[in-house]
């Protein structure tokens, strides 16, 4: 009973003497504002983790894989026998460029040069690459690998058009061309920018 009276009197003192009513409302408001600020900070941290810039990884696109598959069958204007229309296709040039890079087509260009020109003509034009376009750059890497061997992923051919800078998205695809005893992996990577048609 005595304790209760003491508590009531201290409450009375707190409410009316130590902390006047106007001050109390102020502290309540400050508390509320503090809670809101804490929640906002937590939300901002969550949002940052949701939308933070992701490390530049290339997403595989089925469309780009089909483009490479179609390129493999594309008939180039390189032939090794004069007056015979035995034109090499994209896949043949990839194999020749790996195994016999000094070989010349009948028009005097090396197989790797024809491969380079054909990629520019077929893939470069299809993707519409340039500063004014959405696709800012693309690169093609051809690597040789033998399953289980230590000599894996040796780049045998590489070409690039445009510059890989400020890419908002990177996408690409790959295609496998057999080359006994291993295989050649043709990988296409495209850099998509923010603006452009």
């Amino acid at each position: 009973m005595k304790n209760n009276k003491k508590a009531n009197s201290s409450q009375y003192l707190w409410n009316n003497k130590i902390m006047p009513k106007s001050k109390r409302s102020q502290s309540e408001t400050v508390g509320f504002v503090l809670i809101i600020i804490i929640v906002m900070v937590i939300m901002l941290i969550l949002l940052y983790f949701l939308f933070r810039p992701k490390p530049a990884t290339t997403t595989d696109s089925a469309d780009m894989t089909f483009l490479l598959d179609s390129f493999n069958e594309y008939t180039t204007n390189c032939t090794f026998i004069p007056d015979l229309p035995q034109y090499e296709n994209g896949k043949d040039l990839i194999q020749e460029c790996y195994s016999n890079e000094g070989e010349l087509c009948t028009d005097g260009r090396s197989v790797c040069q024809v491969l380079n020109d054909t990629i520019k003509e077929v893939i470069g034009r299809t993707l519409d690459v340039g500063e004014d376009y959405k696709n800012k750059a693309y690169r093609i890497n051809i690597k040789y690998f033998v399953k289980g061997s230590k000599d894996q992923n040796i780049t045998k051919f590489s070409m690039q058009e445009g510059t890989f800078a400020n890419c908002t998205e990177r996408y690409g695809g790959y295609s496998i061309v057999s080359e006994s005893p291993g295989a050649l992996e043709v990988r296409l990577e495209v850099c998509k920018g923010k603006n452009g048609k």
């Binding site: 509320f32 809670i35 809101i36 929640v39 939300m43 969550l46 949701l50 089925a62 469309d63 089909f66 483009l67 598959d69 179609s70 390129f71 493999n72 069958e73 594309y74 008939t75 007056d83 015979l84 229309p85 035995q86 034109y87 296709n89 077929v122 034009r125 299809t126 519409d128």
Partner: protein, 180 residues
């Protein structure tokens, strides 16, 4: 102010505060759910696009289109020409339009493309297999190798070029006219 009145006011304050806090968290929750839903939606869209592409790839491997030689992702241009405007095929496929566009016409509008006929083939740009002339369309495209038999110096050989196989379906949701 009497003591019970003061308590009522305090309870009211507390109630308002609770309602405010609950509303605040509800909005925060809704915001989070919307973001998650949008992310899920874009991922579902990507999966749907990839499925559509795979469906088109299967179309390119169907006996009606595939090249006789063992080429991957290849369409026989001569077969496609034979099938073009064959009315029986409009019922065979569930698409509203099916066509092949050669790479030389990739940057052209559909209206400006030179349509392939028996008279101008292969010097043309667009092989229309069929077109049901749907008002609103949603289309998917896939790159293919379009091959045909050519002859040079008395020898025949298979010439392949890059093309796009475009399959469109009637879209009742989108209220915009079909694009190029």
């Amino acid at each position: 102010m009497k003591k019970n009145k003061r308590s009522q006011v305090r309870m009211q304050e507390m109630a308002f505060m609770l309602v405010g806090v609950i509303l605040f968290f509800v909005f925060v929750g809704l915001f989070g759910v919307t973001i998650l839903f949008n992310m899920l939606k874009s991922s579902a869209q990507q999966t749907a696009d990839n499925n559509a592409l795979t469906a088109i790839k299967n179309l390119a491997s169907s006996p009606e289109f595939y090249c006789a030689t063992s080429k991957t992702n290849c369409i026989d241009g001569d077969k496609a020409m034979a099938l073009s405007n064959d009315l029986n095929y409009t019922k065979f496929y569930s698409f509203s339009r099916l066509e092949i566009i050669k790479s030389i016409a990739f940057d052209k509008n559909r209206a400006d493309m030179i349509k392939c006929t028996m008279a101008n083939y292969p010097n043309c740009e667009e092989i229309v297999i069929f077109d049901k002339h749907a008002r609103y369309e949603k289309s998917v495209t896939s790159y293919v190798a379009l091959c045909r038999i050519e002859s040079e110096n008395g020898y025949s050989y298979q010439k392949c070029e890059l093309a796009k196989l475009e399959a469109a379906t009637e879209d009742k949701d989108i209220k915009s006219p079909k694009s190029k």
